[in-house]
Amino acid sequence: MSDEEEDIILSELDDEELVQQMFDDLYDGLKEEIEEGVNILLERKWMPYDILTKALVGGMTIVGKDFRDGILFVPEVLLAANAMKGGMAILKPLLAETGAPRVGKMVIGTVKGDIHDIGKNLVGMMMEGAGFEVIDIGINNPVENYLESLENEKPDILGMSALLTTTMPYMKVVIDTMVEQGIRDDYTVLVGGAPLNEEFGKAIGADAYCRDAAVAVETAKDFMSRKHNQGVTG
């Protein structure tokens, strides 16, 4: 970037320019600028859901793509996520008030013995951005925690995350228990985490393995759409 470049005054940009600038600011992980951009769009009477999907999710989609392509790395993604979180914090209460569409509900958590949550948090955030209600049950979850949340929250989707080769087999424990209790088919089960792969997902009886947050969102939407169609045709 040139030193001679003038500071950009966000409020002086038109809507289209501002959204483009928010994409850049998300990419650069600039939380305060994202918060300012969200507030400006709200002042301009944008619907919170439109700000979320067009500015924030649109920007994070670019970040996710460049992460997948090896252009961005974990630190940059975390900074972008942190910036998006800032924008989401402003929008979240407004989304409920303005009756934003809800695509579905997901319970998500990292499995027993595993404390890693960067991927899980990213998935949760992107799912919220896509219109899902997300119940995050945190890290180190034994099967009882998952079952309790399924019972209490009645989600459409269960998401499980693991970063360790030693902890990923626990996902099968959860799924097997769901089968034993006769509730497996009541939910779509999505799994993810660095050491996992599609073959593993199939082997443990998950509905799908999601290699990153963007894929998780698309997969979740796809399952929700199938569920909806089943409801219509069935």
Partner: protein, 217 residues
């Protein structure tokens, strides 16, 4: 008289690895992070029939690349040696490295990662079962390469505010020492301070690495 190839510095082992320099009957294909320890065991035990080549240690930053890199190395060298032993544990490959090694007919180190086999897989399992899941581990190599391997790749040199997002769920740093080295112990303690974690020193020696290599010698 034992002969070992000249060991490159840690930065080279991280970035480039170590080329196979000798012809022995057994080739060890190892992670660059284990070069010092393997050469020390070779020298100690007079395993002159074993040659060593190392892949870049930094592959651990992208575990999905480890399996292909090992397969490529095995295929490159297999005609030149009577036997090949892969000195990697699972190392975050989710069982894929094990599957490929079986397909290639070569053996590898048992266990999930070097933290486990340095401590001894059984002992490490027992600690995990007992609830040690919030420990961040460093070995001798990782203490020496802390900045290149952890601090910079995690962006903490540029964005210290990320520290708690990345390490917030950890409670302590366990330094698994392969050699007694007071200077390295001090450095490990400093690493713990920088990450905001409690510090624990645990001398492991070479653990299961020594017994595993002895079995294949």
């Amino acid at each position: 008289m034992t002969s070992n190839p000249a060991l490159p510095d840690d930065e080279t082992l991280t970035e480039s690895g170590l080329a196979a320099e000798q012809r022995g009957s057994i080739l060890l294909i190892a992670c660059g992070a284990l070069a010092h320890e393997i050469l020390a065991l070779k020298k100690l035990n007079g395993w002159d029939h074993m040659s060593l080549t190392c892949l870049p240690a930094k592959l651990h930053l992208y575990p999905e690349k480890i399996t292909d890199a090992v397969v490529e190395a095995v295929e490159k060298h297999r005609d030149d040696y009577g036997d090949i032993f892969v000195v990697y544990a699972d190392c975050g490959t989710g069982g894929q490295l094990q599957t490929k090694c079986e397909e290639l007919g070569v053996q590898m180190v048992e266990g999930p990662h070097c933290y486990s086999f340095f401590e001894g897989n059984d002992a490490f399992d027992a600690r995990s079962e007992a609830g040690e899941i919030t420990a961040f581990y460093l070995t001798d190599f990782l203490v020496r390469q802390f900045d290149a391997f952890i601090w910079k790749p995690m962006g903490l040199d540029r964005h210290p505010e990320l520290r708690d997002m990345i390490f917030g769920n950890y409670t302590k740093l366990v330094y698994q020492a392969q050699l007694e080295n007071p200077a390295l112990k001090e450095k490990a303690k400093d690493c713990a301070d920088r990450l905001g974690l409690a510090f624990e020193y645990r001398f492991t020696g070479y653990g299961d690495l020594a017994t595993t290599l002895a079995k294949h010698a």
